[in-house]
């Protein structure tokens, strides 16, 4: 008897959860394939950001090196370095 009640209760609970989920609106693509692509894109995005940060740090070092050499203050009539 106890078992039957337990099963019934758990069934009811499951049904309740299912019903509750039905009213929810998908705010995120549900298909696993889409999800995979999204997470992959997110990872690539972070790689892009980290790459940019590394390059900016390299540039900053370069700028600071030039500044410490004191050659960033160019004269007006120096030819353009391109």
């Amino acid at each position: 008897m106890k078992r039957i009640i337990l099963v019934l209760v758990s069934l009811l609970m499951n049904a309740g959860i299912l019903l509750a989920q039905e009213t929810k609106i998908d705010v995120f693509p549900a298909a696993p394939y889409d999800r995979f692509i999204i997470y992959q894109t997110l990872a690539i995005f972070w790689v892009g950001i980290i790459g940019l940060i590394i390059i900016i740090r390299m540039k900053l070092k370069e700028i600071e090196r030039i500044q410490s050499l004191g050659i960033d203050k160019e004269d007006k009539d120096t030819p353009l370095l391109d």
């Binding site: 705010v27 997110l42 940019l52 940060i53 900053l60 700028i63 500044q67 353009l80």
Partner: protein, 354 residues
């Protein structure tokens, strides 16, 4: 090189030498708290992101009480990347307000509002208020149960102000109650009035920062290690921080897209356990502490008056803090600043937990 020719063309017509001189001489002091200089830049970056995502969302959103909810569901479920841009706009708003609060409280605690920067403080606090209103009006756009109840509470709270309360309430609501009229009104605020005022104020605020230069905290005035040129060193550092913020925002937007509740129904009972957005929690929690009636007066009115006084004092703090303006240490106002900060943080936490 055509770039050179373009430059020459421009410079023949416009004298940008003063700008160049200015850029070369814009220096930022180095000291213990220099990291707080970045908070303003973060807030501005987030505002730009909000403008961009907001514009594209406005392409699809329908500001009508019957279609608003459906149009957002359509954005989220049918359009390419729609769920992402809505989520990004949501998280951008959260982070922007967080950045603004950090920016404001660090200004308060380091007393950067002192003479001659009073106007910077005033414009900044107005911008903070506008951002909160941005948040509230943007939240109503969703037109779900929670948004509906939140706006009803917030506008009703404003209605408790003596004398002008009712006028403000009916102006905000566009009627005596929150209806479809309110939605259109808030939409107009959200997409035209507030962005316009924000742009003007940010322009003025940033101009004033350039005019005064960076403020150095009183305690650090003698401990400045030196100065870093803004162009290009700090610009690159800003860029690094912006990229990190962008990454965090995109990650949040992807992993935690905001839920959509049930469509608002003016006749339905308010949903249970309703909580406002986190930046309203300290107000919400304060209101809870007041009983319904204090000595025959409406408790809520008293609470609203007290809160208004607190905000008003906060707003005018540079004019009360005479000592800092003279360049002396002002212990009293340090404590007041700490009190405000702690009050905000503790009340927000209590609001979260309760």
């Amino acid at each position: 090189m055509s770039y050179q020719r373009l430059k020459d063309w421009f410079e023949e017509r416009y004298d940008i030498e003063p700008l160049r001189v200015f850029a070369k001489h814009k220096l930022v002091p180095r000291h213990k708290y220099e990291i707080l200089y970045y908070t303003g830049g973060i807030a501005m970056f987030l505002f730009i992101i909000q403008f961009i995502t907001g514009i594209v969302l406005a392409f699809y959103y329908v500001p009508h009480h019957e279609f608003a909810y459906k149009s957002i569901i359509e954005i989220v479920t049918k359009l390419n990347m729609g769920w992402f841009f809505r989520s990004l706009h949501h998280w951008g708003a959260q982070l922007a307000i967080l950045a603004l609060f950090i920016h404001a409280f660090s200004t308060l605690l380091l007393k950067s509002y002192r003479k001659p920067r009073e106007l910077l403080w005033l414009t900044g606090i107005v911008l903070l208020g506008i951002s909160i209103f941005f948040g509230l009006s943007g939240y109503l756009m969703l037109w779900d149960e929670r948004a509906f109840a939140a706006v009803r509470v917030a506008t009703g709270g404003a209605g408790n102000l003596p004398l002008i309360g009712n006028f403000i309430k009916s102006f905000l609501r566009g009627g005596i109650d929150v209806t479809g009229e309110t939605l259109i009104r808030f939409y107009a605020f959200h997409v035209s009035l507030l962005p316009l005022v924000t742009m003007i104020l940010i322009g003025f605020h940033v101009f004033l920062v350039q005019y005064h230069g960076m403020s150095i905290p009183l305690s650090q005035e003698k401990k400045v290690h030196g100065y870093t040129p803004f162009f290009p060193n700090l610009l690159y550092k800003d860029l690094i921080i912006w990229l990190i913020v962008l990454g965090i925002m995109v990650t949040f937007a992807t992993l935690l897209p905001p839920e959509i509740g049930k469509k608002a129904d003016p006749l339905a009972p308010a949903p249970e356990n309703i909580k406002p957005e986190w930046y309203f929690l300290f107000l919400f929690q304060t209101l809870k502490f007041f009983p319904g009636e204090i000595m025959g007066l409406n408790g809520e009115t008293i609470a609203i008056i007290l809160i208004s006084c607190g905000i008003f004092f906060f707003f005018l703090i540079p004019f009360f803090d005479r000592k800092s303006s003279r360049g002396e240490k002002s212990v009293l106002f340090t404590w007041i600043g700490v009190l405000y900060t702690l009050y905000f943080i503790i009340m927000t936490i209590i609001g979260f937990l309760s």
